[in-house]
Symmetry: C2
Subunit: 261 residues, 2 copies
Protein backbone atom coordinates (compact mmCIF):
# COMPACT_ATOMS: atom_id res chain seq x y z
CA UNK A 1 0.00 0.00 0.00
CA UNK A 2 1.49 3.31 -1.05
CA UNK A 3 0.44 6.45 0.75
CA UNK A 4 0.64 9.92 -0.70
CA UNK A 5 2.38 11.96 1.95
CA UNK A 6 0.87 15.15 0.56
CA UNK A 7 -2.52 14.01 1.81
CA UNK A 8 -1.26 13.89 5.37
CA UNK A 9 -1.26 17.05 7.42
CA UNK A 10 1.82 17.00 9.66
CA UNK A 11 2.44 19.06 12.80
CA UNK A 12 5.63 19.16 14.86
CA UNK A 13 5.30 19.55 18.60
CA UNK A 14 8.80 20.56 19.63
CA UNK A 15 11.50 22.45 17.75
CA UNK A 16 14.67 21.12 19.34
CA UNK A 17 17.75 19.52 17.75
CA UNK A 18 15.99 16.39 16.50
CA UNK A 19 12.81 18.19 15.38
CA UNK A 20 14.86 20.78 13.50
CA UNK A 21 16.84 18.15 11.61
CA UNK A 22 13.81 15.95 10.89
CA UNK A 23 11.52 18.79 9.82
CA UNK A 24 14.19 20.10 7.44
CA UNK A 25 14.72 16.61 6.01
CA UNK A 26 10.94 16.36 5.37
CA UNK A 27 10.92 19.79 3.82
CA UNK A 28 13.77 18.81 1.47
CA UNK A 29 11.61 15.90 0.29
CA UNK A 30 8.65 18.26 -0.25
CA UNK A 31 6.67 16.87 2.65
CA UNK A 32 4.57 19.76 3.87
CA UNK A 33 4.64 20.63 7.57
CA UNK A 34 1.64 22.66 8.67
CA UNK A 35 2.60 23.93 12.07
CA UNK A 36 5.45 23.98 14.57
CA UNK A 37 4.93 24.28 18.30
CA UNK A 38 7.62 25.31 20.73
CA UNK A 39 7.20 27.17 23.98
CA UNK A 40 10.25 29.20 22.97
CA UNK A 41 9.22 31.71 20.32
CA UNK A 42 12.67 31.94 18.73
CA UNK A 43 12.85 28.16 18.26
CA UNK A 44 9.29 27.94 16.93
CA UNK A 45 9.71 30.84 14.52
CA UNK A 46 13.18 29.83 13.31
CA UNK A 47 12.10 26.32 12.40
CA UNK A 48 8.72 27.42 11.02
CA UNK A 49 10.44 29.92 8.74
CA UNK A 50 12.93 27.32 7.58
CA UNK A 51 10.25 24.81 6.58
CA UNK A 52 7.54 27.32 5.59
CA UNK A 53 5.12 26.33 8.32
CA UNK A 54 2.97 28.26 10.77
CA UNK A 55 3.99 28.31 14.38
CA UNK A 56 2.59 28.74 17.86
CA UNK A 57 4.01 28.94 21.37
CA UNK A 58 0.69 28.03 22.99
CA UNK A 59 -0.23 24.38 23.38
CA UNK A 60 -3.93 25.21 23.09
CA UNK A 61 -3.34 26.78 19.67
CA UNK A 62 -1.93 23.65 18.10
CA UNK A 63 -4.33 22.74 15.27
CA UNK A 64 -6.47 19.68 15.96
CA UNK A 65 -7.11 18.57 12.40
CA UNK A 66 -3.65 17.25 11.51
CA UNK A 67 -3.18 13.60 10.53
CA UNK A 68 0.23 13.07 12.11
CA UNK A 69 1.76 14.79 15.14
CA UNK A 70 5.49 14.33 15.54
CA UNK A 71 6.06 15.00 19.22
CA UNK A 72 9.74 15.72 19.84
CA UNK A 73 10.06 17.02 23.36
CA UNK A 74 12.40 16.11 26.18
CA UNK A 75 11.05 13.00 27.91
CA UNK A 76 10.18 14.97 31.06
CA UNK A 77 8.36 17.65 29.09
CA UNK A 78 6.38 15.09 27.11
CA UNK A 79 5.23 13.33 30.27
CA UNK A 80 4.37 16.62 31.94
CA UNK A 81 2.55 18.18 28.97
CA UNK A 82 0.84 14.96 27.84
CA UNK A 83 -2.65 15.83 29.21
CA UNK A 84 -2.65 19.13 27.34
CA UNK A 85 -1.05 17.80 24.17
CA UNK A 86 -3.61 15.10 23.46
CA UNK A 87 -6.74 17.25 23.81
CA UNK A 88 -8.79 17.03 20.61
CA UNK A 89 -6.27 14.80 18.82
CA UNK A 90 -7.88 11.45 19.55
CA UNK A 91 -8.20 10.56 15.86
CA UNK A 92 -4.68 11.53 14.78
CA UNK A 93 -1.54 9.44 14.70
CA UNK A 94 0.60 10.59 17.63
CA UNK A 95 4.28 9.67 17.24
CA UNK A 96 7.01 10.57 19.70
CA UNK A 97 10.73 10.55 18.89
CA UNK A 98 12.19 9.33 22.17
CA UNK A 99 14.69 6.50 22.45
CA UNK A 100 13.67 5.60 25.93
CA UNK A 101 9.91 6.22 26.25
CA UNK A 102 7.70 3.24 25.38
CA UNK A 103 4.89 3.23 22.83
CA UNK A 104 2.33 3.01 25.61
CA UNK A 105 3.36 6.36 27.07
CA UNK A 106 0.42 7.41 24.88
CA UNK A 107 -2.75 7.13 26.99
CA UNK A 108 -5.62 4.88 25.97
CA UNK A 109 -7.65 7.81 24.67
CA UNK A 110 -5.15 7.98 21.80
CA UNK A 111 -6.13 5.20 19.43
CA UNK A 112 -3.27 5.63 16.93
CA UNK A 113 -0.03 5.41 18.87
CA UNK A 114 3.36 5.69 17.25
CA UNK A 115 7.11 6.08 17.73
CA UNK A 116 9.46 7.59 15.15
CA UNK A 117 13.03 7.34 16.50
CA UNK A 118 15.95 8.38 14.29
CA UNK A 119 19.18 7.17 15.88
CA UNK A 120 21.55 10.10 15.58
CA UNK A 121 23.15 12.94 17.52
CA UNK A 122 21.46 16.11 16.33
CA UNK A 123 22.47 19.74 16.73
CA UNK A 124 20.63 22.70 15.29
CA UNK A 125 23.93 24.20 14.15
CA UNK A 126 24.61 21.17 11.99
CA UNK A 127 22.01 19.75 9.62
CA UNK A 128 22.81 16.12 8.86
CA UNK A 129 22.10 14.01 5.82
CA UNK A 130 19.22 11.75 6.84
CA UNK A 131 19.71 9.14 4.14
CA UNK A 132 21.76 6.69 6.24
CA UNK A 133 20.19 7.35 9.61
CA UNK A 134 18.67 4.23 11.13
CA UNK A 135 15.10 5.12 11.98
CA UNK A 136 13.10 2.84 14.24
CA UNK A 137 9.33 2.94 14.06
CA UNK A 138 6.63 1.34 16.16
CA UNK A 139 2.84 1.51 16.28
CA UNK A 140 -0.09 -0.22 17.92
CA UNK A 141 -1.72 -0.95 14.54
CA UNK A 142 -0.45 -2.17 11.15
CA UNK A 143 -1.84 0.73 9.11
CA UNK A 144 0.01 3.34 11.15
CA UNK A 145 3.14 1.22 11.27
CA UNK A 146 2.99 1.25 7.49
CA UNK A 147 2.37 4.99 7.46
CA UNK A 148 5.38 5.62 9.71
CA UNK A 149 7.55 3.34 7.58
CA UNK A 150 6.57 5.26 4.48
CA UNK A 151 7.09 8.60 6.13
CA UNK A 152 10.55 7.56 7.36
CA UNK A 153 11.24 6.00 3.96
CA UNK A 154 10.90 9.43 2.37
CA UNK A 155 14.02 10.66 4.14
CA UNK A 156 16.11 7.55 4.93
CA UNK A 157 16.87 4.15 3.42
CA UNK A 158 17.23 2.57 6.85
CA UNK A 159 13.80 2.05 8.39
CA UNK A 160 13.22 -0.76 10.88
CA UNK A 161 10.25 -1.75 13.01
CA UNK A 162 11.40 -2.15 16.59
CA UNK A 163 9.74 -2.81 19.94
CA UNK A 164 9.93 -0.34 22.82
CA UNK A 165 12.17 -2.74 24.74
CA UNK A 166 14.69 -3.11 21.91
CA UNK A 167 14.63 0.63 21.29
CA UNK A 168 15.52 1.28 24.91
CA UNK A 169 18.45 -1.13 24.60
CA UNK A 170 19.69 0.61 21.45
CA UNK A 171 19.38 3.94 23.19
CA UNK A 172 21.56 2.72 26.06
CA UNK A 173 24.22 1.43 23.65
CA UNK A 174 24.04 4.76 21.79
CA UNK A 175 24.79 6.66 25.00
CA UNK A 176 28.09 4.76 25.17
CA UNK A 177 28.88 4.98 21.44
CA UNK A 178 27.97 8.65 21.08
CA UNK A 179 27.58 10.70 24.26
CA UNK A 180 30.35 8.97 26.22
CA UNK A 181 32.61 8.92 23.17
CA UNK A 182 32.03 12.64 22.73
CA UNK A 183 32.87 13.15 26.38
CA UNK A 184 36.22 11.43 25.85
CA UNK A 185 36.85 14.00 23.10
CA UNK A 186 35.76 16.74 25.52
CA UNK A 187 38.15 15.52 28.23
CA UNK A 188 41.01 15.39 25.70
CA UNK A 189 40.06 18.92 24.67
CA UNK A 190 40.10 20.05 28.29
CA UNK A 191 43.57 18.56 28.87
CA UNK A 192 45.01 20.04 25.70
CA UNK A 193 43.63 23.47 26.55
CA UNK A 194 45.31 23.21 29.92
CA UNK A 195 48.59 22.16 28.28
CA UNK A 196 48.27 24.92 25.68
CA UNK A 197 48.21 22.44 22.81
CA UNK A 198 45.70 22.52 19.91
CA UNK A 199 42.80 20.03 19.90
CA UNK A 200 43.30 19.76 16.13
CA UNK A 201 46.22 17.42 16.80
CA UNK A 202 43.61 14.83 17.79
CA UNK A 203 41.48 15.02 14.64
CA UNK A 204 43.27 12.48 12.40
CA UNK A 205 43.44 10.17 15.41
CA UNK A 206 39.75 10.28 16.29
CA UNK A 207 38.89 10.01 12.60
CA UNK A 208 40.92 6.83 12.24
CA UNK A 209 39.51 5.42 15.51
CA UNK A 210 36.02 5.89 14.08
CA UNK A 211 36.88 4.48 10.65
CA UNK A 212 38.42 1.39 12.20
CA UNK A 213 35.07 0.60 13.81
CA UNK A 214 33.64 0.11 10.31
CA UNK A 215 36.08 -2.67 9.49
CA UNK A 216 37.37 -4.13 12.75
CA UNK A 217 35.50 -5.09 15.90
CA UNK A 218 36.26 -2.30 18.43
CA UNK A 219 37.34 -4.98 20.88
CA UNK A 220 39.93 -6.25 18.38
CA UNK A 221 40.95 -2.77 17.26
CA UNK A 222 42.00 -1.58 20.72
CA UNK A 223 45.54 -0.22 21.09
CA UNK A 224 47.37 1.84 23.73
CA UNK A 225 48.72 1.33 27.24
CA UNK A 226 45.55 -0.07 28.85
CA UNK A 227 45.11 -3.05 26.54
CA UNK A 228 48.75 -4.06 27.20
CA UNK A 229 48.25 -3.02 30.82
CA UNK A 230 51.51 -1.12 30.68
CA UNK A 231 51.65 -0.09 34.33
CA UNK A 232 54.57 2.27 33.90
CA UNK A 233 52.65 4.43 31.43
CA UNK A 234 49.36 4.09 33.30
CA UNK A 235 50.98 5.26 36.54
CA UNK A 236 52.70 8.13 34.77
CA UNK A 237 49.38 9.22 33.31
CA UNK A 238 47.70 8.99 36.70
CA UNK A 239 50.49 11.20 38.08
CA UNK A 240 49.88 13.73 35.31
CA UNK A 241 46.20 13.78 36.33
CA UNK A 242 47.01 14.37 40.00
CA UNK A 243 45.13 17.70 40.02
CA UNK A 244 42.13 16.24 38.15
CA UNK A 245 40.77 13.63 40.58
CA UNK A 246 37.64 13.01 38.49
CA UNK A 247 39.61 12.40 35.30
CA UNK A 248 42.00 10.26 37.29
CA UNK A 249 39.09 8.11 38.42
CA UNK A 250 37.74 7.85 34.86
CA UNK A 251 41.21 6.96 33.58
CA UNK A 252 41.60 4.20 36.15
CA UNK A 253 38.15 2.72 35.71
CA UNK A 254 38.24 2.66 31.90
CA UNK A 255 41.80 1.31 31.80
CA UNK A 256 40.77 -1.59 34.02
CA UNK A 257 37.70 -2.19 31.91
CA UNK A 258 39.77 -2.20 28.69
CA UNK A 259 42.21 -4.66 30.15
CA UNK A 260 39.43 -6.91 31.41
CA UNK A 261 37.56 -6.95 28.11
CA UNK B 1 69.61 22.09 4.11
CA UNK B 2 68.16 19.29 2.04
CA UNK B 3 69.20 15.73 2.75
CA UNK B 4 69.04 12.91 0.27
CA UNK B 5 67.27 10.13 2.12
CA UNK B 6 68.79 7.56 -0.20
CA UNK B 7 72.15 8.24 1.40
CA UNK B 8 70.84 7.21 4.79
CA UNK B 9 70.80 3.58 5.73
CA UNK B 10 67.70 2.92 7.84
CA UNK B 11 67.03 -0.04 10.14
CA UNK B 12 63.80 -0.76 12.01
CA UNK B 13 64.07 -2.32 15.45
CA UNK B 14 60.56 -3.62 16.06
CA UNK B 15 57.88 -4.79 13.63
CA UNK B 16 54.68 -4.00 15.51
CA UNK B 17 51.65 -1.98 14.46
CA UNK B 18 53.42 1.37 14.30
CA UNK B 19 56.62 0.01 12.72
CA UNK B 20 54.59 -1.83 10.07
CA UNK B 21 52.64 1.26 9.09
CA UNK B 22 55.67 3.56 9.16
CA UNK B 23 57.99 1.20 7.26
CA UNK B 24 55.34 0.73 4.56
CA UNK B 25 54.85 4.49 4.29
CA UNK B 26 58.63 4.92 3.84
CA UNK B 27 58.67 2.15 1.28
CA UNK B 28 55.86 3.84 -0.69
CA UNK B 29 58.03 6.96 -0.85
CA UNK B 30 61.00 4.88 -2.07
CA UNK B 31 62.93 5.29 1.17
CA UNK B 32 65.02 2.16 1.42
CA UNK B 33 64.91 0.15 4.64
CA UNK B 34 67.87 -2.15 5.09
CA UNK B 35 66.88 -4.43 7.91
CA UNK B 36 63.99 -5.26 10.22
CA UNK B 37 64.46 -6.73 13.67
CA UNK B 38 61.71 -8.45 15.60
CA UNK B 39 62.10 -11.27 18.12
CA UNK B 40 59.04 -12.84 16.45
CA UNK B 41 60.14 -14.39 13.15
CA UNK B 42 56.71 -14.10 11.52
CA UNK B 43 56.53 -10.37 12.28
CA UNK B 44 60.11 -9.76 11.15
CA UNK B 45 59.73 -11.74 7.93
CA UNK B 46 56.27 -10.36 7.05
CA UNK B 47 57.36 -6.76 7.32
CA UNK B 48 60.76 -7.38 5.72
CA UNK B 49 59.08 -9.02 2.72
CA UNK B 50 56.61 -6.16 2.41
CA UNK B 51 59.32 -3.49 2.31
CA UNK B 52 62.03 -5.56 0.60
CA UNK B 53 64.41 -5.51 3.56
CA UNK B 54 66.53 -8.13 5.29
CA UNK B 55 65.46 -9.30 8.68
CA UNK B 56 66.80 -10.81 11.87
CA UNK B 57 65.32 -12.12 15.10
CA UNK B 58 68.61 -11.78 16.99
CA UNK B 59 69.55 -8.44 18.54
CA UNK B 60 73.25 -9.19 18.05
CA UNK B 61 72.70 -9.57 14.30
CA UNK B 62 71.33 -6.09 13.79
CA UNK B 63 73.75 -4.33 11.45
CA UNK B 64 75.92 -1.68 13.09
CA UNK B 65 76.58 0.52 10.07
CA UNK B 66 73.14 2.07 9.60
CA UNK B 67 72.68 5.84 9.81
CA UNK B 68 69.25 5.86 11.43
CA UNK B 69 67.70 3.28 13.72
CA UNK B 70 63.94 3.60 14.19
CA UNK B 71 63.30 1.81 17.46
CA UNK B 72 59.64 0.93 17.76
CA UNK B 73 59.26 -1.41 20.70
CA UNK B 74 56.86 -1.41 23.62
CA UNK B 75 58.18 0.96 26.27
CA UNK B 76 59.02 -1.89 28.65
CA UNK B 77 60.87 -3.84 25.96
CA UNK B 78 62.87 -0.77 24.92
CA UNK B 79 63.96 -0.12 28.50
CA UNK B 80 64.83 -3.77 29.05
CA UNK B 81 66.66 -4.32 25.77
CA UNK B 82 68.40 -0.92 25.74
CA UNK B 83 71.86 -2.19 26.81
CA UNK B 84 71.90 -4.74 23.98
CA UNK B 85 70.34 -2.45 21.36
CA UNK B 86 72.92 0.31 21.60
CA UNK B 87 76.03 -1.85 21.30
CA UNK B 88 78.12 -0.64 18.38
CA UNK B 89 75.64 2.05 17.34
CA UNK B 90 77.26 4.99 19.12
CA UNK B 91 77.61 7.01 15.92
CA UNK B 92 74.12 6.45 14.52
CA UNK B 93 70.98 8.47 15.07
CA UNK B 94 68.79 6.46 17.43
CA UNK B 95 65.11 7.46 17.30
CA UNK B 96 62.34 5.85 19.32
CA UNK B 97 58.64 6.15 18.50
CA UNK B 98 57.12 6.26 21.97
CA UNK B 99 54.62 8.87 23.08
CA UNK B 100 55.60 8.61 26.71
CA UNK B 101 59.34 7.90 26.85
CA UNK B 102 61.56 11.01 27.00
CA UNK B 103 64.41 11.80 24.64
CA UNK B 104 66.92 11.11 27.39
CA UNK B 105 65.89 7.47 27.68
CA UNK B 106 68.85 7.18 25.31
CA UNK B 107 71.99 6.75 27.44
CA UNK B 108 74.88 9.19 27.23
CA UNK B 109 76.92 6.80 25.12
CA UNK B 110 74.48 7.58 22.31
CA UNK B 111 75.49 10.97 20.97
CA UNK B 112 72.68 11.36 18.42
CA UNK B 113 69.38 10.98 20.27
CA UNK B 114 66.01 11.24 18.60
CA UNK B 115 62.26 10.74 18.87
CA UNK B 116 59.95 10.13 15.92
CA UNK B 117 56.37 9.95 17.22
CA UNK B 118 53.49 9.68 14.74
CA UNK B 119 50.24 10.32 16.61
CA UNK B 120 47.87 7.66 15.36
CA UNK B 121 46.23 4.35 16.28
CA UNK B 122 47.95 1.72 14.16
CA UNK B 123 46.94 -1.84 13.37
CA UNK B 124 48.79 -4.22 11.09
CA UNK B 125 45.50 -5.22 9.48
CA UNK B 126 44.85 -1.67 8.40
CA UNK B 127 47.49 0.42 6.64
CA UNK B 128 46.70 4.09 7.05
CA UNK B 129 47.45 7.05 4.86
CA UNK B 130 50.33 8.85 6.58
CA UNK B 131 49.87 12.20 4.84
CA UNK B 132 47.77 13.85 7.58
CA UNK B 133 49.32 12.15 10.59
CA UNK B 134 50.81 14.63 13.03
CA UNK B 135 54.36 13.50 13.61
CA UNK B 136 56.33 14.93 16.51
CA UNK B 137 60.12 14.90 16.36
CA UNK B 138 62.78 15.72 18.89
CA UNK B 139 66.56 15.51 19.01
CA UNK B 140 69.46 16.61 21.16
CA UNK B 141 71.13 18.35 18.22
CA UNK B 142 69.94 20.60 15.36
CA UNK B 143 71.36 18.50 12.54
CA UNK B 144 69.50 15.38 13.61
CA UNK B 145 66.35 17.36 14.34
CA UNK B 146 66.54 18.53 10.76
CA UNK B 147 67.18 15.00 9.55
CA UNK B 148 64.14 13.69 11.44
CA UNK B 149 61.99 16.53 10.13
CA UNK B 150 63.01 15.70 6.59
CA UNK B 151 62.48 12.01 7.08
CA UNK B 152 58.99 12.63 8.52
CA UNK B 153 58.33 15.18 5.79
CA UNK B 154 58.73 12.45 3.19
CA UNK B 155 55.56 10.75 4.44
CA UNK B 156 53.47 13.45 6.13
CA UNK B 157 52.71 17.15 5.79
CA UNK B 158 52.29 17.55 9.53
CA UNK B 159 55.70 17.56 11.20
CA UNK B 160 56.26 19.43 14.46
CA UNK B 161 59.17 19.68 16.84
CA UNK B 162 57.96 18.91 20.33
CA UNK B 163 59.59 18.47 23.75
CA UNK B 164 59.36 15.22 25.69
CA UNK B 165 57.10 16.90 28.24
CA UNK B 166 54.62 18.15 25.64
CA UNK B 167 54.69 14.79 23.86
CA UNK B 168 53.75 13.03 27.09
CA UNK B 169 50.81 15.44 27.52
CA UNK B 170 49.63 14.78 23.97
CA UNK B 171 49.93 11.07 24.56
CA UNK B 172 47.70 11.32 27.64
CA UNK B 173 45.07 13.32 25.72
CA UNK B 174 45.28 10.75 22.91
CA UNK B 175 44.50 7.93 25.34
CA UNK B 176 41.19 9.69 26.06
CA UNK B 177 40.45 10.67 22.45
CA UNK B 178 41.37 7.31 20.95
CA UNK B 179 41.72 4.35 23.33
CA UNK B 180 38.93 5.37 25.70
CA UNK B 181 36.71 6.38 22.79
CA UNK B 182 37.31 3.01 21.21
CA UNK B 183 36.42 1.36 24.49
CA UNK B 184 33.08 3.17 24.48
CA UNK B 185 32.48 1.59 21.06
CA UNK B 186 33.54 -1.77 22.49
CA UNK B 187 31.11 -1.46 25.41
CA UNK B 188 28.29 -0.53 23.03
CA UNK B 189 29.26 -3.55 20.94
CA UNK B 190 29.16 -5.77 24.02
CA UNK B 191 25.69 -4.54 24.99
CA UNK B 192 24.29 -4.94 21.50
CA UNK B 193 25.66 -8.47 21.23
CA UNK B 194 23.94 -9.30 24.49
CA UNK B 195 20.69 -7.77 23.22
CA UNK B 196 21.05 -9.56 19.88
CA UNK B 197 21.15 -6.29 17.96
CA UNK B 198 23.71 -5.44 15.22
CA UNK B 199 26.60 -3.08 16.03
CA UNK B 200 26.13 -1.64 12.53
CA UNK B 201 23.21 0.38 13.88
CA UNK B 202 25.80 2.52 15.67
CA UNK B 203 27.97 3.34 12.65
CA UNK B 204 26.20 6.46 11.31
CA UNK B 205 26.00 7.69 14.89
CA UNK B 206 29.68 7.29 15.73
CA UNK B 207 30.58 8.73 12.33
CA UNK B 208 28.53 11.87 12.99
CA UNK B 209 29.90 12.15 16.55
CA UNK B 210 33.40 12.15 15.07
CA UNK B 211 32.57 14.59 12.26
CA UNK B 212 31.02 17.01 14.70
CA UNK B 213 34.35 17.25 16.52
CA UNK B 214 35.81 18.83 13.38
CA UNK B 215 33.37 21.75 13.45
CA UNK B 216 32.07 22.09 17.00
CA UNK B 217 33.89 21.99 20.31
CA UNK B 218 33.10 18.53 21.82
CA UNK B 219 31.99 20.29 24.96
CA UNK B 220 29.43 22.31 22.97
CA UNK B 221 28.42 19.37 20.79
CA UNK B 222 27.33 17.14 23.67
CA UNK B 223 23.78 15.73 23.53
CA UNK B 224 21.92 12.95 25.36
CA UNK B 225 20.52 12.33 28.83
CA UNK B 226 23.66 13.13 30.84
CA UNK B 227 24.12 16.70 29.60
CA UNK B 228 20.48 17.45 30.48
CA UNK B 229 20.93 15.32 33.60
CA UNK B 230 17.66 13.54 32.82
CA UNK B 231 17.48 11.43 35.97
CA UNK B 232 14.57 9.32 34.76
CA UNK B 233 16.55 8.05 31.75
CA UNK B 234 19.81 7.78 33.70
CA UNK B 235 18.14 5.65 36.37
CA UNK B 236 16.44 3.48 33.75
CA UNK B 237 19.80 2.92 32.07
CA UNK B 238 21.42 2.05 35.38
CA UNK B 239 18.62 -0.48 35.95
CA UNK B 240 19.27 -1.99 32.53
CA UNK B 241 22.94 -2.36 33.53
CA UNK B 242 22.08 -4.10 36.81
CA UNK B 243 23.97 -7.26 35.80
CA UNK B 244 26.99 -5.28 34.55
CA UNK B 245 28.31 -3.58 37.70
CA UNK B 246 31.47 -2.34 35.97
CA UNK B 247 29.54 -0.74 33.10
CA UNK B 248 27.12 0.66 35.62
CA UNK B 249 30.01 2.33 37.43
CA UNK B 250 31.41 3.71 34.16
CA UNK B 251 27.94 4.96 33.17
CA UNK B 252 27.52 6.76 36.47
CA UNK B 253 30.98 8.29 36.57
CA UNK B 254 30.94 9.56 32.98
CA UNK B 255 27.38 10.89 33.25
CA UNK B 256 28.36 12.92 36.29
CA UNK B 257 31.47 14.15 34.54
CA UNK B 258 29.45 15.20 31.45
CA UNK B 259 26.97 17.07 33.57
CA UNK B 260 29.73 18.79 35.53
CA UNK B 261 31.64 19.90 32.45
Amino acid sequence: MSINMEENKIVFIGAGNLATNLAKAFCDKHIKIDQIYSRTELSAKTLADAVEADYTTTLEDIVNDADIYIVSLKDDALTELMPKIIVGKEKALMAHTSGSLPLDIWPDSIKRKGVFYPLQTFSKQRIVDFRNIHTFVESNNPADLNLLKQLAGCVTDEVTELSSEKRRQIHLAAVFACNFTNHMYALAEKLLKKYDLPFDYMLPLIEETERKAHVLSPKEAQTGPAVRYDERIINKHLDLLADEPEMQQIYQLISKSIHKL
